[in-house]
């Protein structure tokens, strides 16, 4: 079975550029810092999920790895950051990097086995890995705290200067900096030759291997890079909330991040930046109103995206911008 990600509205004709959308999103994100000083914890949380969704876009959007188990890497990152802090390693930046590396190592070990699969079997196996890790963490209470989670950790100030505050000011800027860095890195990667090779793998594994390239090695590398970023996102959640709960490994988290990416738009990197605020803000706003309402709203949005706007929010914005410039939707690229 072959799942073509093209059905998500992906087109090579608009290769990822470092465009307006990214600049506008990051400018807005900075504006949030001044306009909503009392909502910065939520904003940091949104930033973390944007980062998580970005990691999924690298695997799914670029390399075509369809997965329902990405929370495995998010969770490993979160627990690693928690364990490091509890063991006395409280420097946050190195903590994040080490956590990301642990997640990448797991993906690097799994990749050669599971990435031979495509389509539904791959989805099922990634799901199984996710469920296995969740149950393992649930059972190993001495290690993970089980249901109670890991708590009581503290982190030293960022760069030794910026103290963590209960208003989340440091948290937010810290998350935003990681997000910007990761976005830039992903952008460089996807526009590079390696990024082109990954899209080749996504489009046609047979052709790729009959052009002399080891598809499995490329997929594994992409998977590990993606897991690194997911691990970074998990570590940031642990550091900003000073807590690691079992739910970081849950299947719900894997689904959340997939929905965020599909809503935002798969395969252009910007989808992650757009989907996370929309998804989490709707969730947050409707919480006070009716705890189940957000599910319904998100459900309708998903149906809408699947039926009429395959490119998600990014796709819609892209079309609007192209129209306003007087270009046809599928006009000359570049």
């Amino acid at each position: 079975m072959k799942i073509t990600v093209s059905s998500t509205g992906l087109s090579a004709l608009d290769r990822p550029r470092m465009p307006m959308i990214a600049l506008v999103v990051f400018a807005l994100a900075l504006a949030v810092f001044f306009v909503f000083p009392d909502r910065l914890s939520l904003a940091a949380y949104i930033g973390i999920f944007a980062l998580f969704a970005l990691s999924l876009d690298l695997a799914l959007g670029m390399a075509g790895i369809v997965t329902l188990g990405h929370a495995a890497f998010f969770g490993v990152g979160a627990y690693t950051a928690g364990w490091l802090a509890l063991a006395g390693w409280q420097e946050p930046i190195t903590g994040v990097v080490i956590s990301g590396l642990c997640a990448a190592a797991l993906a690097g070990a799994l990749g050669p086995f599971i990435l031979r699969l495509t389509g539904l079997p791959l989805v099922m196996v990634t799901l199984a890995v996710g469920v296995f890790l969740f149950e393992a963490a649930n059972k190993l209470t001495w290690l993970t705290g089980g249901d109670d989670g890991l708590y009581g950790m503290t982190f030293s100030p960022v760069l030794g200067i910026f103290e963590w505050s209960i208003y989340g000011t440091t948290d937010y800027l810290y998350v935003l900096a990681w997000l910007a860095l990761a976005f830039y890195g992903c952008h460089r990667l996807t526009t590079s030759n390696f990024g082109l090779a990954l899209r080749g793998v996504r489009e046609n594994r047979l052709r790729m291997s009959l052009l002399g390239s080891s598809v499995l090695a490329q997929l594994t590398l992409a998977y590990a890079l993606s897991a690194f970023i997911a691990g970074v996102a998990g570590a940031l959640l642990a550091q900003t909330s000073e807590f690691v709960g079992l739910e970081v490994l849950s299947v719900e988290k894997s689904i959340d991040v997939l929905v965020i990416l599909v809503l935002g738009g798969v395969g252009h990197l910007y989808g992650a930046l757009l989907g996370a605020p929309v998804y989490l803000l709707i969730k947050d706003m409707s919480k006070e109103w009716n705890p189940h309402a957000w599910m319904i709203i998100i459900g309708f949005m998903l149906v809408f995206v699947m039926l009429v706007a395959r490119g998600g929010i990014h796709g819609v914005l892209h079309k609007v911008i192209e129209r306003s410039r007087g270009k046809l939707p599928n006009g000359e690229p570049r």
């Binding site: 087109s11 899209r199 009959l210 390239s213």
Partner: protein, 256 residues
Amino acid sequence: MTDNLLEAIGLQKSFGALKVAQDVTLRLRPGERHALIGPNGAGKSTLLNCLVGKLIPDTGSVMFDGQSVLGRKPYEINQMGISRVFQTPEIFGDLSVQENMMIPCFAKRDGAFQMNALTAMSSQRDVIEKAEEMLVEMKLADKRHMHAASMSRGDKRRLEIAMCLSQDPRLLLLDEPTAGMARADTNNTIDLLKQIKDERDITIAIIEHDMHVVFSLAERITVLAQGTPLVEDTPDNIKGHPKVREAYLGESQDAA
């Protein structure tokens, strides 16, 4: 018999109870254009699949330039110098024509995507130039920004041939390259394949139903029927061969 570029001997391949290849032998001499003909379902595509590692034959041996091909991964076989064009074009549908062309050029330049982060991130300019050169040569340059999937079947085929050629393979395997093409395109393809042969040191094996193509291109012909090779000979001898007329040419001439 080390002077053959490729020697497939005693290949057998079954899908369940269906014996698709029974004791198939194929010998390709260096630099020749060799046609593989035979009725539908004779096992021609299956034979090529065994040569490039897409299928693993049940028994038999495949030697390329004195080295065994069996047991190697498809990408390793490709790196030995065998390129394959498929019956249904295998291209990167959702990428632009230019990007399709860039991938093999990049693979060739960087030793098939060795995982060297530095070369992977490095300049694309020479890759783009090489891709452009190939596109111009194959008269696809004006379609460079087109979505590959939306091209005509003939153009897709030309693109796939271009992608394979840009690798400078020593052996090019073509599976019905002119199927579904208009006469003019077919003739262009014949000219192209002759020209390729004149310009490069390349051996070509071509599966073809169109006898016009076969007899304009082939220097030697192997006839397959029901999974066994009937004869291997020069075109002139094949034309007059009674067994071949019976098994193949009779049919196709009636149909045509």
